[in-house]
Amino acid sequence: MADISILCPTGHLGFTPLEPASFHAGCALKPDFVIADSGSCDIGPYPLGADGQASPAAWQRHDLEIMLLAARRMGVPMIIGSASDTGTDRGVRQFAEIIEEVARDHGLAPFRMATIFSELTREQVLARMSAGAVVQGLDGRADADVAQIARTDRIVAVMGAEPIAAALRQGADVVIAGRASDCALFAAPLLNAGLSPATAYFAGKLMECASFCCEPFMGKESILGRIAEDDIRVTAMHPGQRCTPMSLASHAMYERRDPFREYVASGHVDMTHVRYEQWDEKTARAAGARFVTSEQPMVKLEGAGKVGERRLAIVGIRDPYTIENIDKAMDWARARLAERFGAPEESDWTVYYHAYGRDGVMGALEPTPPLHPHELGIVVEVVCQDGKRAEEICALAARNLFYARLKDVKGTAGAAALMSDEVLVGKPGYEWTLNHIIPVSDTMELFRTEFVTVDSSARKAA
């Protein structure tokens, strides 16, 4: 069987613009598929919970346009997953609209587009729970109860390769998928070509972050994978990058707890016995993955819920005595806030003082906070259901540092420098409420696929 080749230009479409030169170098090698993931949980819970996007629309269009024009010119399918950062229904529709817009702007010949939706309502999840499904917690979380679902504003189910593979079999030239396992986007066409799930999902795992699996470190550069059964060869497309056994292996363990297992809806890839070798100057080869099919397919659910409105203020401190006693100053400030607004745990407000210059980056994980930092920058963060109240609490939380009463302070005109006496409106605070899995009888059942023919000439005539 001939190799299947896949070109991947970016590990998070739209997050920063992809680099066209190495992508076009990859296109010159005539790939069979052009594939990129657009989602990540790294951006925090806000975009999912509030159903917004983390990437500017202009960059999303930039990446989609470059990929679509190349894919249509070459006549090969293009697959995009986790549309618009989160893979909500809004994200899928938004990307579908961009595709239609690009097709119209460039007068592209008609093609078939599949959109695959993966959002679930709270009611759908609750109905499954009532019917006996246990929504199991991942990563040490408790199983979800009704209250946990109620605290969740938005839920997406994470698809495996099956819905995408089905859309391709039904003739989709472009697939815009909701939330999907990154590796599933790559696995879908490989499974359709008859490759094993082990090869298909493992190839996806290696390729999903594009040039991150090559060296030296560069983002947003293209890579080309050539895949046959148990034979995955990944090549760097940027002239200054190589794919090596080390770079490929170190990517296989990237941003995961367990470097040996990758879970998808239908089972997991076992990478324990994978072997890596240098194939040519810019290419590394991997083989030896296994796939363990689950008796009970489980689909991952991601959910985010609002905690409250957020306000921020920034203050600086230079007085060495105040810096030395900053914890006392913060305690004093907190006590005064509690006097006015009630105990935080009973009165729906929370204040966080982030002390940059001491432990603002690591908090309690910081093993060596400096005893005598030269100056401190303190970001005051307040969360409260009511925005007006959050603003008032935040203003006082900042000014209380200014008025902090420390016994031997010499500067009696103000204990803090207010960069500007203002309270900044932060995005509302959200929390990841669901990092769970739910049993399904069919890995397709939570996902809905729609087809449309994108015909720019018809639109123009209309």
């Binding site: 819970p45 690591m362 309690a364 605070g429």
Partner: protein
């Protein structure tokens, strides 16, 4: 002091990053196989040692793996709150590795 090196001098990559929304994972990768074996065999990185370094109970170190194919030592710690929650300081978990630099080998 004879033959003492610091991890920063032996490892080619020392990084931290989210592993899902509830964990931060740390990778220490060695370009040089001998350096990898030296650190691996010295036992200066272990579940107990990293728990002590970050001043957390050992139970929060959920994973500790020697990953031979990448000449790497990898461990994972559980966050107190999920990434990006109010009060959290590092939404990507990308700046938590610095204390590893000065680990003596």
């Amino acid at each position: 002091m004879r033959n003492v090196a610091r991890l920063r001098d032996l490892a080619s990559t020392i990084r931290s990053k989210n592993a899902g929304v509830d964990h931060i994972t740390f990778d220490v990768i060695f370009r040089d196989r001998a350096n990898f074996e030296r650190v691996r065999d010295a036992g200066v990185l272990s579940r107990a040692k990293v728990a002590m370094l970050y001043n957390i109970p050992e139970s929060r170190v959920t994973d500790f793996v020697v990953f031979e194919p990448a000449n790497a030592i990898k461990f994972t710690i559980r966050r107190v709150r999920p990434s990006g929650s109010p009060g959290e300081k590092d939404v990507f978990g990308a700046q938590q590795y610095a204390p590893l630099f000065d680990v003596e080998v």
